[in-house]
Symmetry: C2
Subunit: 416 residues, 2 copies
């Protein structure tokens, strides 16, 4: 493969958004706009759907200052999708269409910004293009608040969500113990299979004001043990703050979140009404212990809280997008940009870029190591704290207007 | 009454906490510690309960730098309560006890930091002390995220919660419209009788990324009109973001939050399970419109989100505590510190202190003016924006440790 390849680039975003996925996209867009090998930079509307539907935006026509605001604009500015490509052996309709669009715009660079499924999409397109003999360099730029991508020290997006979780846990700790009466509080944090984000609640406990109990999906959840854990702390202090991953499950694998749904409760209109996990556990505790209980779901806030993002995360997210373009224009293809943890001469955390095979990342999942979880399965050990703390450092340098965030306003001019 | 009165001071905090109630307390404590008329400064544990139980902390023994951290420490550092004093004519037990404690510690200044009920407590104590011939100066220092105290332009605590609401609405707006599929989102915001805090969602809309529809308890809520409002926007755009006050009610006065409870749904354990208003409306919309719906409750986060507090609010909260001490030591008693809006020579917002009779404030409630709500009852008019914007200006100057908030750690040494 020649090192010199001239043509257009497409950047797409996919999967659940994060506070900093646009920082990665900006890393790609800015670097690509400035690179002489890249003739045009197109943003795909709603990820691969924008390619299939021929809805591409010309990033070169955006105002530079407006593009820079992407560094602090949460969610996916180009739009996202959850579209899964079929296997090309079984059905190559989509692939033919993608090739057609690539040819139409002379696309030689494809950058895809997303989680596991997006790396799978990257990998499939890359393999198809190779088979079709169409020269094109394809790079994955990771993002996920779940931090569950295999082979990388951590993922862009995780640290900002972790900082939201830790900060919010600390604030709720102050609030939830203010009265001279008993109080239990259950916090529900995202993470279906991996407990990385819920583990971030332990950073608040490390600061002296966080959850008393933390449960991750890496361990089976037992309701009787849970009741006993809470009662022990409540009886001693009159309060108990609990953090749970949305994905906690019992030893049969049944989700605790669905314990509340079995009797199919209905509202006044006769419709089935599902509470979340926090509400389910809060209700169970209320009946078991009898004091005041509050269930709180961090919901979308934890993945779009750009105002409390980690500047380290923003910088690394930008850098991963930048590196993808640099490597691709140097002849690299078929890789995901990953992170390797290092230390400088003073022993201070540094984040180095490494490249990983798309095929290796695509469908693997990284979980919290069992030895980082305490033996009772209700808290985190010191190695997790040491792992997570460097990632959440630095306050975001935001642009404000009227005391409120000034997010990027893209013109989204259609590519010709 | 002589202007010169020497003795100890008590500061207590009461009612639901805010992000900045400790800034007011610090305004009282710092100013009182520095004032030659005040011999000791005592913090009452859990408001008036600490006085009744003789649990007082000697604020003079706290580290000055630690006390200063109260400016950015959310919730009530001294502890709060919801204790309502009986009428002294009917039962003067509590009052006799308070007088006993005041005499024991030679308390001549009493500062109470709270909402309507706290002003009622202040007023009752003040009247009793006058009747008992015990010279004591009693001042109310307001706080409430509800902004519903009568006679003052706004209340300390409101602006920081409003800034959290507006910022979070803007972030969720980005997130909730990221996919190329239909999406409805319902945000539940605190405020049982007054819609001030929910109205703050309109600041996000003013910035171009906020709720499409906003419903306050100042208007009757009609479910059919609501469905029609949402469908109109959803059919045009494929998305709809809605903000509702927890206290919205139908024309009979029945809370919409309780619509979901009528059929008494039960979980797998046979316990009654109550969803919140957001979940109730989300479920109703899901069944009415059929697309993806998310209900999000801002819960405690909106009143303890000190990391996104308004610096204007912090400054004004401190100033109100400071003013209470200054006026009291100058001979004033029986007043609440209020705010009057003014303008400087350039027409820029300034906040002036005014004094209000405790008796006038105690049990009155201030609501959002009807003319600030749009005629359809689903949004706010420009005068509200102009009212609220100056209040949320300025980013909090926080002390951080490990990238996380460093909250005040008080020693709480018992008074002698």
């Amino acid at each position: 493969m020649s090192n010199q390849l001239k043509g257009a680039a497409i950047i797409g975003q996919s999967g659940g958004p994060t506070s900093v996925i646009n920082a990665s996209a900006y890393g790609v867009i800015r670097t690509a706009l400035d690179n002489p090998s890249i003739t045009h930079v197109y943003g795909a509307a709603h990820g691969i759907r924008g390619v299939l539907d021929d809805v591409l935006y010309d990033m070169g026509q955006e105002d530079a200052a407006e593009l820079k605001l992407l560094l602090n604009t949460p969610s996916s500015a180009l739009g996202s999708c959850r579209y899964k490509l079929k296997d090309s052996e079984a059905d190559d309709t989509d692939y033919k269409r993608i090739l057609e669009i690539f040819k139409k715009y002379d696309v030689r660079y494809f950058f895809y910004n997303g989680g596991n499924d997006s790396m799978d999409t990257c990998n499939k397109i890359s393999k198809y293009m190779q088979k079709a003999g169409y020269e094109c360099r394809i790079m994955g730029v990771p993002k996920t608040i779940d931090n569950d991508l295999w082979g990388t020290d951590h993922c862009p997006g995780y640290a900002s969500a972790a900082k939201f979780v830790a900060t919010t846990c600390m604030e709720i700790y102050q609030d939830a113990r203010v009265y001279d009466t008993g109080m239990l509080c259950v916090l529900e944090i995202m993470g279906r299979h991996a407990g990385w984000l819920t583990a971030a609640a332990a950073l608040a406990s490390h600061m002296g004001c966080g959850p008393d109990l933390i449960y991750l999906p890496e361990r089976d959840f037992d309701m009787d043990t849970f009741f006993a854990d809470v009662k022990r702390i409540y009886n001693a202090t009159g309060k108990c703050l609990v953090a749970v991953s949305e994905g906690i499950h019992d030893k049969t694998g049944a989700l605790i979140a669905e314990y509340g749904a079995e009797n199919a409760p209905t509202d006044a209109f006769g419709h089935k009404q599902l509470g979340g996990l926090a509400a389910t556990l809060a209700n169970l505790l209320k009946n078991e212990i009898g004091c005041k209980v509050r269930g709180i779901e961090f919901s979308l806030m934890q993945r779009c809280g750009a105002h409390i993002a980690s500047q380290t995360d923003i910088d690394e997210s930008f850098r991963s997008g930048q590196a993808a373009v640099e490597y691709a224009t140097q002849g690299i293809t078929d890789k995901m940009v990953g992170f390797e943890r290092g230390a400088d001469a003073q022993g201070k955390y540094v984040c180095n870029i490494k490249l990983m095979d798309l095929a290796d990342v695509a469908n693997a999942e990284k979980k919290v190591p069992q030895e980082w979880i305490n033996s009772a399965g209700n808290g985190l050990n010191e190695p997790f704290i040491q792992y997570a703390l460097p990632l959440i450092q630095g306050e975001p340098q935001r642009t404000l207007e009227n005391g409120l965030p000034r997010f990027a306003r893209l013109k989204k001019i259609a590519a010709k």
